[in-house]
Symmetry: C2
Subunit: 330 residues, 2 copies
Amino acid sequence: MASSGVGGQEPTAVPPLLLFRLPPILLFRRVDAAFYAALRQRYRVLDFFASGEPLPAFLAAVVVGGGAVRVDSAFLDAVPSLRFVFSTGAGVDHIDLHECARRGVAVANSGRVYSTDVADHAVALLIDVLRRVSAAQRFVRRGLWPVQGDYPLGNKLGSKRVGIIGLGNIGSLIAKRLEAFGCVIYYNSRRQRDSVPYKYFPNVQDLASESDVLIVACALNKYTRHIVNKDVLEALGKDGIIINIGRGANVDEPELVRALKEGRIAGAGLDVFENEPKAPAELLSMDNVVMTPHIAVFTSESRSDLRDTTISNLEAFFSGKPLLTPVLPW
Amino acid sequence: MASSGVGGQEPTAVPPLLLFRLPPILLFRRVDAAFYAALRQRYRVLDFFASGEPLPAFLAAVVVGGGAVRVDSAFLDAVPSLRFVFSTGAGVDHIDLHECARRGVAVANSGRVYSTDVADHAVALLIDVLRRVSAAQRFVRRGLWPVQGDYPLGNKLGSKRVGIIGLGNIGSLIAKRLEAFGCVIYYNSRRQRDSVPYKYFPNVQDLASESDVLIVACALNKYTRHIVNKDVLEALGKDGIIINIGRGANVDEPELVRALKEGRIAGAGLDVFENEPKAPAELLSMDNVVMTPHIAVFTSESRSDLRDTTISNLEAFFSGKPLLTPVLPW
């Protein structure tokens, strides 16, 4: 399960008298029992969800999940002693990186822990939309197969032109996977990569008009908010498919919903939404839309890797060594 | 759509007086309008479904779909003039290859037309089962996300040991795709392939006990009927996953259902079933089972390729040239 075992009931491995000598960290995220135990062996863990107490003034480090808290000026004002923020998510759009840098607060994130899982999920969403896997499964589960016979044809993945927005760790892994399926890879990114053979489009709208599929795999920031807007959807066209495993706000969701309702694009595979945990009600009945509840990172294997990455970064921070997966403002 | 436009209403491109000079072929399969037109330009097409007439004694060639008719001794007795059977499916388990060979009846099939689509579908089913894509989607569509919060963790695809039963065209394409996801590929096949780097298991039970996932990608014949039986499921074990894109009868379905019900295997992704179009009722409510209605070959692109392959083989047969995609008995 994603969340369990938080709270102060369970015995700690550290004798109570020594506990106050351990560095204090604030936990702003529900974690599983093994993760919690690993933290408590090393630190005095202040669990925001368990205690609900105000932010302590002596706090040195904080572990935050994606979106549960915004690390902005107001937050940093409340904990002036803070020197390190660890984000258990890959995205850091909930952290004001410039403000942290200005105040000398180091930031690290989960690094590449989730990258392969997210790339795998993107491929799963794409094949599902193209090949109508989920919709065909509903047809079976509703008992319609014996009644209605053959299910309508889907579309082949091979030779599709896939435009990837954001060719970072995740985008590159998506590209590698889709190459094995015979797709043609295009991409848009802040700058062209010399090391990749894929065609680069400096403009997202141009990428969309040359692509059969657009995959949103970029971070969310002021440049990428609504990077998929009405014009990009228009350029993608009525046979086009959108996959989003980035952040909900990378796509102008009302425009996406309108385009789907009016048949101006062919389908969508969405793991993220603008107002999670809400998915737009209009999409719930559409057979050409595949929606998952922001689970692209949800595997027990990556959860265990995350625990290791978190501890390693905290240990590096508290011993004055370089962080393993630092995040710097652009 | 999978079936449309059959029947004798539409005008043929061939003048009626010439029609009887065209070679007669019997169509035992519903095809789309473009496919039907392509056949009628070249042949006198006798449509079994449209006419329902008895098999004509002068028939030279027959085009059959998967399972609509069995080409066995009784069938061959009824059309003694028959010299060519074309199967629009890759599987030819409905054709008695030995009996055809004995009587000098040539057989061809769809060749590799469907291979990539089937391989893609196998990968989609596997990621869906591991990552709970369909189940998580039901959670979203039922409005449970805002109520219940985070969805349970799935499992990572990378580094999983995938045992492929049957390393033919389809099996090899599945292997190539899963290599890009970082899987370890094992296989069982009639004989070891010198050209592949994957570990070979002469015995399916041994393959199962070393694998996290078993993918059934072999033809159905007397050697492979129930090749996944109770012992193989037992060897695969409670964390194991079965994917079947071969034929339903490659798996002992009642044993599979029992193993799933009792938690003796972890999940299944099934595109084929023993009694299609029926899927076992017990599976319909299981969240760890993904079921599609034999759609692994259902893309409009492969449908168009199939039309070309069918015509090419018929033209080769009627002009005495070698068939493009002949099928021989073992």
